[in-house]
């Protein structure tokens, strides 16, 4: 402990009191340091201070300001500002600046202060200082200043007084009518002061946000949102807008981006740089992170000029047509990062989008009636990689009869395009039948086009609706016929029906004039050579086609008068084949490879076309003509299930149920037979209408999990298999036909509910075509491919749950768990331990369409249980209209049931107030249960 001695004398007290009484006195400014410029603090006390000049702003009412000797806060006069009524012919607003010819040194003050009142409560748009009618380098403004009929003191802090050594801008104001009406406000006792009671300065740039900006070389990015807050002597924070010259800006990487003293960022190379600032030595909150991709990649040539007759077109954007009015090419909807630019390529106008996550294009003030149109067309070019699963999505929205958003009559549909439709660094023509927009049930009031997907950089041209039924070269209305060759006998170059040679370049630059694009016809990828002179195809790898017999090609042209196809081997050795043009609809040729002699068929590496006109091409492939493509050339694959887990109906691999009748006469037209293929017994149903199989004895297959069958058909367009128990109780399962070679399905037996699995008696097939069948058997997927127990029961209080799929809760009514979004997934519902469980077999993707849009903003998590033994990738998406969707990756495969509770914040920017769908993608067989939101 220390002793402390405090000594006080009465003089302390006197000093305090003197200070107190001296407070209201005027400062003695002679005490300030000598300065080159006058330090006069007064701006307007009862008259203009020395050297003060007033100038009204352009467009303002120049007579708005006057000196008022009747109304004042103190002294003998004040400044009066008469704000005009809206539409005043003398000027629409009151505004002006008070400045001096000779600058003043204001570095000894910390604020501009004044008193103000008004003839009515009002909000003055802007007051401030630093406007010298020239550079106004040190402009400071206070926005939205509330005034009323009482005099009140206002304070505008000086962000950094040391900057104001020769300031000419003393005061400024700008104010428009209030609700259309003029009024009067008065300002008095305008002066600079050293208050000492301003505290906690907090400067900021970009409104104190940390922004991340994608940029490219050459971009100039002004840093906005320059501001500072001060705590006033009333304890309240006040925000002022501050000119850039008060700040010192720095870039973390000046080889990527530099920043000028006025806060303009110049992007000079690829890389990342962070721009920050200080004000009077204080670090400003907020930063701009520039992620520069370097020099922009743009299309070297314009998109192919459309050839559809203008009479048949409603164009939104094309130099080839007269365009209808479009309100905006970028609605800047919330969460959209898209930036749009108008650029020109060889004189052709092109829309460019950067940072495209989604962008709204709106033509709602004059909606488009496309009821007479058949197709929607747009050309896109992207420098971004388009490897799957990268998608580009096109959403069309019709506002319905009321012509406005909402109202219950809107309809829309979104299509997603992926590789190989999408391609990088080439113009891709998306030419889509409007019928493909299945959900777009009306198109008399089209109002929005929304582009989204995974391509941040998209160039857009030739956006139009058209009617393909009218004359003109509109291209084929239907896709090329689907090839029927067995894939095992094919080397494919370009076909949706086969696996194509990887890495083939369809756009090699051999100096040609031809414009190559790839488009979708009826969902089928098709090559288009516009304005052909010649065009090559460079195979991804040299091909030995000596084992093949023919080259197949489908082609379509209305205007070509000459067209040759060349096959080329190194040398080059090339041989032409003349194609008959023009075509009447799609022309198909099957050219014997011998026609291309002396080309080395063991080492083929290029194709070439020459001629003229616009040519559509599809299904370019080599094949081996095995003497008839309507029968399988190989046996069905041998099954691999353990015989111990199998009840076989028809298979050479297992012991079959004895006594089964494969040819019962149920009155069918089908001709059933048994054929030997590669030594393997195979059922053949020729000319199927329907056909039954009567089991030799009733079978209890409740211990089994699946029924397997292999099928082959080149010509069937419909095929169902039924399982039947006495009653009869029967349930169909649709098989995907025609098959491409042998197809195998493993159908969960739950897909046949309510058939009694304890007592299965028959199979039935119906449909059409010629069907080969083999390896029909039940099996138990005992190898751990199915869960043996139900998902764990959830324990959340039902009051805090919005359930989508769970036996434990009341689920949202009307949810569609099997919407047809074009997926290959086989979704079904199975009962595990008495618990309903969703099963996605062979997942590529699968949606869940909620019965009604859900506001889950009051929830914190989404829960789901999942089980998979074989998935290697699994994502769950939450989706709100737009669509806005975000993926969440689930850890697969699972070891037993896995449960996740995903914070809903992980799905940002999905609109949690309006959730409409789930989506899963990935692979494998997935069991799902207990999908619900909870709080």
């Amino acid at each position: 402990m220390t002793n402390r001695r405090y000594t006080f004398s009465a003089t302390w007290l006197v000093l305090v009191l003197v200070l107190f009484t001296a407070l209201s006195c005027k400062r003695n400014f002679d005490d300030l340091e000598p300065a080159t410029y006058p330090t006069t603090p007064e701006v307007f006390i009862d008259a203009f201070s020395e050297g003060l000049i007033y100038a009204a702003f352009g467009g303002s009412k120049v007579t708005a300001f006057d000196v008022d000797k009747d109304v004042f806060y103190k002294g003998t006069a004040s400044m009066k500002f008469e704000v005009p009524d809206a539409g005043d012919p003398e000027g629409a607003y009151a505004g002006g600046a008070f400045f001096t010819e000779v600058g003043r040194d204001l570095s000894g003050y910390d604020a501009l202060t004044f008193w103000a009142k008004a003839s009515q409560p009002a909000t003055i748009d802007l007051v401030g200082f630093g406007n010298d009618l020239a550079e106004s380098r040190f402009l400071v403004t206070l926005r939205d200043v509330a005034v009323n009929t009482n005099w009140k003191k206002y304070i505008i802090p000086i962000p950094d007084p040391s900057k104001l050594t020769q300031e000419r801008g003393m005061f400024l104001y700008s104010e428009g009518p209030e609700n259309g009406s003029g009024y009067t406000f008065w300002i008095d006792e305008v002066k600079f002061e050293k208050l000492g009671t301003l505290a906690h300065p907090s400067p900021g740039i970009l409104e104190k946000q940390d922004q991340v900006i994608s940029a490219e070389t050459g971009d100039k990015l002004p840093i906005g949102g320059l501001m500072e807050t001060f705590n006033l002597p009333t304890g309240v924070d006040q925000r002022i807008d501050v000119a850039p010259a008060y700040f010192s800006f720095t870039s973390s990487n000046t080889s990527v981006a530099t920043v000028s003293s006025l806060g303009v960022v110049s992007v000079i190379d690829a890389g990342t740089a962070v721009v920050k600032a200080t004000l009077a030595g204080l670090e400003a909150e907020g930063s701009m992170t520039i992620q520069s991709t370097g020099t922009a990649v743009s299309p070297p040539a314009p998109a192919p000029t459309p050839t559809v007759s203008p009479d048949s077109v409603i164009s939104l954007f094309s130099n080839a047509y007269t365009n209808v009015p479009v309100d905006t090419w970028n609605t800047h909807w919330q969460f959209s990062t898209a930036e749009d630019f108008d650029i020109t390529i060889d004189g052709d106008d092109v829309k460019r989008y950067k940072n495209l996550n989604f962008v709204g294009i709106e033509f709602s003030s004059q909606t488009i009636d496309a009821t007479e149109m058949t197709h929607f067309h747009l050309d896109i070019w992207t420098p971004d990689p388009t490897d799957p699963p990268a998608a580009f999505k096109v959403l069309l929205v019709d506002f319905g009869a009321d012509g406005t958003y909402g109202g219950g009559d809107d309809s829309s549909h979104e299509l997603a395009f992926t590789s190989p439709t999408l391609a990088s660094e080439t113009w891709v023509s998306l030419d889509v039948p409007l019928s493909s927009f299945a959900g777009l049930t009306h198109r008399a009031h089209l109002a929005q086009l929304v582009l989204s997907g995974d391509l941040p950089n998209v160039f857009l041209d030739n956006v139009y609706f058209y009617n393909s039924g009218s004359s003109g070269t509109t291209g084929p209305a239907v896709a090329a016929p689907v090839p029927t060759q067995d894939p095992a006998d094919v080397i494919s170059i370009f076909s949706d029906a086969y696996t194509n040679v990887a890495g083939t370049d369809f756009f090699p630059n051999w100096g040609q004039a031809t414009v190559v694009s790839q488009l979708l016809i009826d969902g089928n990828n098709t090559l288009l050579y516009s304005g052909l002179n010649y065009q090559g195809i460079q195979l991804g790898a040299n091909q030995d086609v000596s084992g093949m017999t023919h080259l197949h090609l489908d082609y379509w042209t209305e205007n070509s008068t000459a067209l040759n196809l060349y096959l080329i081997s190194p040398g080059p050795v090339e041989a032409p084949f003349t194609l008959s043009v023009p075509t009447s609809g799609w022309g198909s040729v099957d050219i014997p490879l011998s026609a291309f002699a002396p080309v080395d068929l063991a080492d083929v590496f290029q194709f070439k076309f020459d001629g003229n006109g616009d040519i559509y091409l599809d299904n370019l492939f080599f094949y081996k003509d095995s003497g008839g493509g309507d029968t399988p050339s190989v046996a069905a694959p041998a099954p691999t299930q353990d015989p111990a887990n199998v009840i076989s109906v028809y298979s050479d691999a297992y012991t079959n149920i004895a006594g089964t009748d494969f040819f019962p006469n149920w009155g069918q037209a089908t001709v059933p037979s048994e054929v030997l293929i590669d030594g393997n017994n195979t059922l053949l149903y020729s000319g199927l209408n329907y056909q039954g199989i009567q089991l030799g004895s009733n079978q209890d297959v409740s211990g089994m999990t699946h029924v397997h069958l292999d099928f082959w058909t080149a010509n069937s367009t419909a095929l169902n298999v039924y399982l039947i128990s006495p009653g009869p109780v029967e349930t169909p399962y649709a098989l995907s036909v025609p098959s491409s070679g042998w197809a195998s399905v493993d159908i969960p037996l739950s897909a046949f509910a309510p058939v009694d699995l304890l007592d299965v008696i028959q199979f039935k097939f119906d449909g059409n075509g010629d069907i080969y069948l083999d390896n029909i058997y039940f099996y138990n997927d005992a190898g751990g491919d199915t869960p043996t127990i139900a998902a764990p029961d959830p324990s959340y209080d039902p009051a805090n749950v919005i359930s989508v799929y769970s036996d434990a809760y009341t689920n949202i009514a009307g949810t569609d768990f099997f919407p047809n979004w074009g997926q290959a997934t086989v979704p079904s519902e199975v009962l595990i331990d008495g618990n309903n469980t969703l099963l996605y077999s062979g997942l590529n993707y699968q949606g869940i369409q909620l019965g009604s849009n859900q506001d889950v903003s009051g929830m914190t998590h989404v829960h789901l249980d999942f089980w998979t033994a074989n998935s290697t990738a699994l994502n769950v998406y939450l989706i709100s209209p737009g669509p806005v969707e975000t993926a969440y990756a689930l850890s697969v495969p699972t070891s037993g049931w896995a449960s996740v509770d995903i914070p809903l914040t992980d799905f940002a920017p999905v609109n949690l107030m309006d959730v409409i769908q789930f989506k899963f993608d990935g692979d494998g067989d997935i069991y799902l249960d207990n999908i619900f939101f909870h709080n």
């Binding site: 002793n3 405090y6 006080f8 302390w12 200070l19 000492g196 009671t197 906690h200 002597p233």
Partner: protein, 273 residues
């Protein structure tokens, strides 16, 4: 600070009056005294640590007879060391136990009290309308004889909307609430929330002197109070930050939160001869 409340009106009028009289008095002789430190808390320790339980206890609850809006808790979020040698009492805008704000109120009740002496603390204020920090003493016999009979010495009170002003006050029988004896001390061009200042009373049998940074701005003697002089028994110490309440008014949307009162130290001395 008041322990209780009814029909309170702002006592600024009274304050102004006593202020103008002050300079007329000529009996304010400062006597040299020999003060020996008997109790202190320097608030040294790691950030987030709760105050020393040997020295401080918590008043948990709300209102406190003053219509205070905050719920005072013992959570480190509301009261803990800042790791820089200070105690922070942190007022927050958050829903808690039915209140819209939280804060804390710590006392030495039952742990330490003393009659007479020098009580001082070095404090940096929070700010913003409706913020009401205080450093004050209450008579330890409050639970047996009640308030204001027990006596209250407010060494420092402050309104966040007047960051250049503090107030020193005593409440006793016949002169409590709006009739309390009080005076303000202010800066013309400085504020109490931008730097630390020392607030103190020197309490002897004959008077209580109020200091800011060793500047004496108020002396209250038995002759200055219209009722009984009850400052003759042990008092204990309270530190708190109120949000809202009769003394300060409501916080506004513009009040910045959170707000911290930082206390560098509290020291108590006894006079030795």
């Amino acid at each position: 600070m008041k322990w209780n409340n009814s029909n309170f009106t702002i006592s600024l009028l009274l304050l102004g009056l006593s202020f103008s009289f002050w300079s007329c008095k000529n009996d304010n002789v400062i006597v040299e005294r020999n003060w020996q430190l008997v109790w202190e808390d320097e608030f040294d320790g790691p950030a987030g640590q709760s105050p020393d339980p040997q020295k401080w206890t918590y008043d948990i609850g709300t209102d406190w007879g003053n219509a205070q809006l905050e719920y005072d808790t013992d959570r480190p979020e509301n009261v803990s060391l800042d790791g820089q040698g200070n105690l922070a009492i942190i007022a927050k805008r958050e829903s808690y136990a039915g209140s819209a704000f939280t804060s804390a109120r710590i006392t030495t009740q039952g742990l330490f009290d003393q009659a007479y002496g020098r009580f001082e603390a070095r404090i940096k204020m929070p700010w913003g309308p409706g913020i009401w920090p205080a450093f004050w003493l209450l008579g330890s016999d409050i639970e047996s004889i009640g308030w204001p009979q027990c006596g209250e010495i407010d060494i420092m009170e402050y309104r966040g909307q007047q960051p250049n002003l503090i107030h020193g006050t005593i409440h006793g029988p016949g002169y409590s609430q709006s009739e309390a004896i009080t005076k303000s001390y202010g800066f013309e061009n400085d504020r109490f929330d931008v730097a630390f200042h020392v607030f103190a009373v020197e309490w002897v049998e004959e008077y209580i002197d109020f200091y800011v940074d060793d500047v004496l701005y108020q002396r209250i003697s038995p002759g200055d109070v219209p009722g009984e002089w009850v400052y003759d028994h042990p008092f204990y110490i309270i530190l708190n930050v109120a949000v809202g309440g009769n003394f300060v008014g409501f916080p506004t949307d513009q009040t910045p939160f959170p707000q911290s009162m930082l206390v560098d130290w509290v020291r108590v001395y006894k006079e030795i001869n």
